[in-house]
Symmetry: D2
Subunit: 339 residues, 4 copies
Amino acid sequence: MHGNDPLGIAVIGTGRMGADHVRRIDRVISGARVAAVADTDAERAKAVAAGIDGCTVHTDPAAAMAPPGVDAVLIASPGPAHEAALLAAFERDLPVLCEKPLTPDAASALRVVEAEQELGHRRVQVGFMRRYDAEYVRLKKLLETGQLGRPLMLHNRHRNVASSPFFTSSMLITDSVSHEVDVTRWLLGQEITAVTVHAPGSSPGAPDGLRDPQFVVLETDGGALSDVEIFVNCGFGYQVQAEIVCERGTARVGDDHHLVANVAGRWGGTITQDWTERFDQAYDDELRAWVDTTCRGEVGGPSTWDGYAAAAVCEAGVRALEEGGRVAVELAEKPALYG
Amino acid sequence: MHGNDPLGIAVIGTGRMGADHVRRIDRVISGARVAAVADTDAERAKAVAAGIDGCTVHTDPAAAMAPPGVDAVLIASPGPAHEAALLAAFERDLPVLCEKPLTPDAASALRVVEAEQELGHRRVQVGFMRRYDAEYVRLKKLLETGQLGRPLMLHNRHRNVASSPFFTSSMLITDSVSHEVDVTRWLLGQEITAVTVHAPGSSPGAPDGLRDPQFVVLETDGGALSDVEIFVNCGFGYQVQAEIVCERGTARVGDDHHLVANVAGRWGGTITQDWTERFDQAYDDELRAWVDTTCRGEVGGPSTWDGYAAAAVCEAGVRALEEGGRVAVELAEKPALYG
Amino acid sequence: MHGNDPLGIAVIGTGRMGADHVRRIDRVISGARVAAVADTDAERAKAVAAGIDGCTVHTDPAAAMAPPGVDAVLIASPGPAHEAALLAAFERDLPVLCEKPLTPDAASALRVVEAEQELGHRRVQVGFMRRYDAEYVRLKKLLETGQLGRPLMLHNRHRNVASSPFFTSSMLITDSVSHEVDVTRWLLGQEITAVTVHAPGSSPGAPDGLRDPQFVVLETDGGALSDVEIFVNCGFGYQVQAEIVCERGTARVGDDHHLVANVAGRWGGTITQDWTERFDQAYDDELRAWVDTTCRGEVGGPSTWDGYAAAAVCEAGVRALEEGGRVAVELAEKPALYG
Amino acid sequence: MHGNDPLGIAVIGTGRMGADHVRRIDRVISGARVAAVADTDAERAKAVAAGIDGCTVHTDPAAAMAPPGVDAVLIASPGPAHEAALLAAFERDLPVLCEKPLTPDAASALRVVEAEQELGHRRVQVGFMRRYDAEYVRLKKLLETGQLGRPLMLHNRHRNVASSPFFTSSMLITDSVSHEVDVTRWLLGQEITAVTVHAPGSSPGAPDGLRDPQFVVLETDGGALSDVEIFVNCGFGYQVQAEIVCERGTARVGDDHHLVANVAGRWGGTITQDWTERFDQAYDDELRAWVDTTCRGEVGGPSTWDGYAAAAVCEAGVRALEEGGRVAVELAEKPALYG
């Protein structure tokens, strides 16, 4: 970064999420510009870069990080491609915002943790964007005041209108519950030690063979419980709610009751149908926070360790779903780098 | 009343409201029985009395009060018949529960006030049943704690699905707003000194010629304002809400949000369609309170004076509607009997 | 019962709950009277009967059922005394309202089921009063419309300010969760097949040694899950909430948000502190329903079988708490008498 | 504007609001930069411009508009200085975002309307930022669907914790209610024709001599009513709420219930204390919308006419407050330029 110049960002992956981040950097967030994009689909990358001054187009992630104007990297490619892109960024010692999951499994995530340790300093912010949602932030702050006392239980609801056609039973855990895994670790400041998955009979509204809904119970090393209803074909809307139960009180976010109407014998309102509507502002704030800390030469937000821990918990969750019963989570020792 | 015997009640008027009170006394409330009924329509009275042990049937209200088992009178006949029935009860010095309005106008109401004064003690509880609704009671108690400070404004909403065919523009005030007139006087403990009626363009959903909705502003001798939205053809439900604004805070009742559902892209619930559903419990409690105080030889609840004051305010309101502008309310001097 | 005479009830047990039922029969509910009371503590029984015309006082439950004016029996003695009182009532073929639990364990409850079978007709209504709470009734009706589709999960919250000094870890299940056991069976119309108890670290607000809160997961023979947060020393209030998740929507009751205030930088209201405040009306309605059906010579409401099933589930729950893991519930075959 | 270059903005006035806009342009919004600032207090202007590349500093507004990099003007100086700044911008035919009020009175506002007419095209967006608040936008969209039918009444609440020391009774109307004046005109798409101000006794919490709260009733040329509770020393929080009542239903925004906590016998949450907290996002969105339309060579949002109409209504409101009774609003004829 050079003086007042905007932060030059290489965006790796230009699918739905990557293209949306390009839009944010180009149109919404001040102080940053898209310096390069990379996608295995060159046409898609070109289309996304069109009209952006000085944005170069690549098919190789490492090549996209090479031009002189690239100051930082945003990884939004599919999960399996994350490890290579992260290591390429580490080679150039570039700051990275890496979309979740850090990598698809605990073993590869641990390799990234180790590579960052060799680098000797934190370079990665993982895209757990719930931490940037105004309501979750409010809940976190309330907990930190101490007025509710020690957290004992966290009840989470995570509902989607309908799942993508390719969604599998284990993806309810790795793709969806992974958010609540991070929320639990972040809100409680505790590691998760075991997972139980209770799967009721599937909804007739779910595709054949999909175990949907599921009910996941997480235990923590602080003696707390966090339960998650995950229901990805609920049909009626997108809802993300959390209620924390502490020794002296409870608190809940996610009611999403912004307009109350009385009409035709009913009171109430419409339900958000999509995460882009519910969390658009959180994505803006996440990106703005990353650009700000990066411009100050700092690294903040969810760390590589957070990405690894989430991967390890989700792996245990998938085993709990498939084998039944309670599955313990085994984490590597936490490096000093992650405090 | 004789020892442990149930209170024998003569019910005057056996229309919808009277029949409902007969049912309450006979089936719901302990400690009371229907001793006599009177209605100008003898067949209707007979039908209501059928199956009630020892209940005599009359067409003359005074005659219904004469049998030896009659300990008290409940007047539920049309408003214009109230004065005569009240005076007949006074002659026998019987306790009375008189449905609202006390009488249809201020002059006749004042005559009842004077007659009760001659009697020398309170005998009448007027049927302003909002005072027995659990939520209004809660609001009253909150005000009495003083934690909100002095009341400055009261915002009322009063909505019905549809009005009866015979409803007139002035009945929005005399039949409907009269409840809020009493609520205002009771919650604030102040008399109303002036009325302004703002009438917006009528709803297409209202019958031709009916001024509906109306917006009534009441001023009190304590310097407070109470505004009332009255909308008797709102189409969507029955809603009665009140929000009081005090110097240090506000409080609201009447949200009626007992069940919250998420379905088909909407959150919320159904709206009560009818006052019997919304206030059934308040009617039970009102009647039970009257039976209890009467059995103890006491008189409580809204007084004849309250009935007179409401009549005087509503009269001023009808003038304000018809003539425009602000109309002052002139009350007679309050007799010591009413504290 | 003889013609129009009120139903004469023998009340067995005159502790807090029994005395309250005596008050309801004597003062609140029409059509019934307290004909006799029984308590091992004769003084307590005498005090409760004082001032009630013709009410006889006993120390032996069976003796209290013998006087000619006794038409029905209400059992409110401690759980271990229920079986003998029920059998005594069966001997006289009297209708019974039996407070929960039917009996303290599944074996004795099954004996009562068998005794009622020998009698050849239902005589018992068990005191699961949630079924008479207006909000739960509304939820049940909504489910019956079918608009939400098939139930998949039920999330329950059950919180008390503080537990009695003698409360034990297993009583959180047998005394408190037993309500949700019945609610689950009743709302879903399904039997419970297994129980898992997740116990987080206990709250510092709970007495030493009490496992509080607990998180109970019930599985049903219809493939549904019902989870229960039970927290009997939550400190802030009495809350009973249920959210049902169906294939096309969800519905929630128990918010208890009747008055909303803005004061001192906070919006909201007070929380009910006690079950008498929250469920007073439900108790009235339960008793009224029992008196009404009994006067018609019918039996309704929760049956002996419901009492037995709850006992069996709670027994399994206590084992799950003590031994860890999932414990299956084994029910006897359901007699035809219970439909 | 030249190709991809950011929009160069001259910010006139660097007080609290102006400085905040400088921050938004510099740090939050993409596609714009602060090219110049002007303030009569040169030191304050210098401090605000510090660290912004290429930002020139002026004491004369017209001088700040002269540099070659200035593409647009944002006026955030005190109201009495607006007219001169607007005319200076018109001379250079620059697009303007003018903070409310357009000017302090109807006569000067009308002069600006006429000057813009001479220019022959719209150049001004007035800073009525409620139109950019997500909840008001949602309410507007709901009205446009037509499902609620024609609007009949609008109930507004506008509460501040405490007023500035220099606040006068008429400023409750010109500074605060002016927002609801615009909201009423915008939501209903109607002009306001008369104003009545009901002033209850002032709150003991208000400074001596300040008429606070006030209750303002606006009538529109479409036959609708809009009432406004304005209470600038309510003590407990900042609340802006609107409930529209239409012929087939109602809708409400502004509950601001984002986090619900149970603690110490109370349920509820904290109330926003400040407009910066409540409307921060609306200000961002307003500025972003202005920059976007301006870069496209267009003008959108509230017009000079809207600014003039608000000034005329507020003038009538102040007369209604001072003289009592209903005061008619006389508007000039609306130029074709404003559709």
